[in-house]
Symmetry: C2
Subunit: 356 residues, 2 copies
């Protein structure tokens, strides 16, 4: 996407063998790129959420393995890098998907071939993410086009989104926001309600992205979405996801479930943008998805400023589960799915299905 | 309630003819009392939310009229004070209820009698609020007692609350928190999930009150409540209200509706603490309640720190409507009501009903 008018990816290999990332903890105040030199540094960047968003975490982990192989390509180094990277964010399935893919490729290779193969594979994972997200955008833009057809001339389609499932959460395009970019490319008029998404206020990232692309948007507190739906001010909800169970239950940023309930109560369609790599076929239902409990200081502080005294007892679950019964459909790179079983599973994930 | 071990009311007349309030914008960082000398100052204190919470706003408005009468008791001064005070917070019905009560009393009186009568009436409104809230506490404590009976020994009843409907929102005891104080007095073990309640984070006030009384509690972001209910970690939701329509629909702090939806989805009882003065019999349903749109800087900033750049478009509705179908019952000073029509309306509001 564009930053100050120039095309950028969120993660890209540099000619000097380092990996350039955006330090997303500095956004929206500052757009800063950081060079990552080692697998350790990449693990730290994932844990600290300098890189964040399930698809980007997957690509970043792959680049982390590639950096480890460039330094030392023996079995011990490979196992160590994978274990350390896997340990950074327990809920993001893409992380494990990407690491497994790297391991499956690299383990059988002789040490001497691993560095180059790892580098190419990380690049392939990045490129596939871009292509996949663009396809999600096409599918979702068609949906927005349908909603636009019901509007009077000049009236925008109002889309509510939670957290940041934009360009910044992927290598390019994003997932939940990809339909918005492509709808805009098609000349459709949209307006986005941006949930601020406490505790970390990733809505600020979404607002920053929308501003960079010149798309009208309004930031709201997480409490406001239900009221807006009651008032008929939301035409559709589109969110991203961190992990999808085989039955279609979705783990996404804490608070997603509340918006899904409000959407159902007000007959607002509720879509989840789902790269099929986010589907964990090994997990039967949402009940079995591990929910990450994050550091309470994320709640106690905001942008480093104390909101609650440090003595305050805090709970900070990072995600919640939205049951498939509340989901109108899944916007995937393979088209719009009313339920996950519409996917040709054999074709999608042969290795996983065979293993299951 | 207790502050640092001493009993205090949120608003009290001083012997020098001023009114002492707590500057609640300084909480929880500092407990500061401020002296209010004029009706103008009181209107400003209400508008700036130095005093806040529907019942306290009612008492504060009454004291505002009393201050105006002490200064100048002619019809013009009375009309001006009432108009100015009525204009501060459009959604709070107690404000209008208290002002109407003051006007009904004062208008027929000769100028010379107004100052003393106004002072006595403001004191009576304050005292009645305290008695009413204590009665709400008794009703609600009985409910909590029922829930405690289903628990194993030593297990706390988990109560979720939104915004601050505690002591600070009233003259004393609070509404939604009154049952918690009285349950604790009865020796019941409770734990409170405190919604932080963006944009203004009144959850920080609730946490401060609970800490002052030594009651276990945990602050959560507004996004987390649904997840906690899915996990079976919430036994009951108790919230306050700013205005109740005749059909039982409730206007309360933005986000209340989302918690009511989650409660229904998880079979968690959802109660609203309702002083009957909060019921607006002239308003048929929630659809007819005016929702205040507040200043966007409340969202853009938190504790004076910028979260979103000032160019960010923001919407900031202050309240939402929770339909009566989502409400298990109303905890009133006249007992527990399954629906509002259980109230003996004739007895409650004869003047209003006759006027309708």
């Amino acid at each position: 996407m564009q930053v100050n008018g120039h095309h950028q990816r969120t993660i890209q290999a540099r000619t000097d063998g380092r990996i350039s990332i955006i330090d997303q903890t500095c956004l929206p105040q500052a757009y800063t790129r950081v060079s990552i030199q080692t697998s350790d540094e990449m693990a730290r960047a994932i844990r600290n959420m300098q890189v964040r968003g399930a698809p980007l975490i997957g690509a970043a982990a792959a680049w982390g393995v590639a950096l480890a192989m460039a330094e030392q390509a023996d079995d011990e180094s490979l196992a160590k890098a994978i274990a350390e990277l896997a340990n950074t964010r327990p809920t993001a399935v893409n992380l494990h998907w990407a690491l497994k893919r790297m391991q499956t490729l690299l383990q059988p290779l002789s040490e001497i071939k691993r560095a180059e193969a790892a580098w190419k594979e990380a690049q392939a994972i990045s490129d596939e993410d871009v292509a996949s997200n663009r396809a999600i955008g096409e599918t979702g833009a068609a949906l927005i086009e349908e909603l636009a057809a019901e509007k009077s001339d000049g009236e925008a389609v109002n889309i509510l989104t939670h957290c940041n499932a934009g360009w910044l959460g992927t290598v390019d395009y994003g997932t939940a926001l990809a339909p918005i970019w492509l709808a805009t490319e098609r000349g459709l008029k949209v307006h986005v309600w941006v949930d601020e998404t406490r505790p970390r206020c990733q809505g600020a990232l979404t607002a920053w992205e929308l501003r960079q692309q010149g798309i009208p948007h309004t930031v709201i507190v997480d409490n406001a979405g239900g009221h807006l739906m009651q008032q008929g001010k939301v035409d559709v909800v589109i969110v991203g996801c961190d992990r999808v169970a085989a039955n279609g239950d979705v783990a996404n940023k804490i608070g997603t479930y509340l918006k899904a309930l409000a959407a159902r109560d007000n007959n607002v369609p509720f879509f989840v943008a789902v790269p099929t790599s986010t589907i964990d076929w090994d997990i039967e239902s949402g009940e079995d998805i591990l929910i990450e409990e994050r550091n309470g200081d994320e709640v106690r502080q905001l942008n480093g400023v104390e909101v609650y005294p440090s003595v305050t007892e805090v709970s900070n679950p990072g995600f919640d589960i939205t049951r498939t019964r509340l989901i109108t459909g899944y916007i995937s790179e393979r088209g719009l799915l009313r339920k996950l079983s519409d996917l040709d599973v054999e074709e999608t994930e042969p290795a996983e299905v065979a293993a299951a």
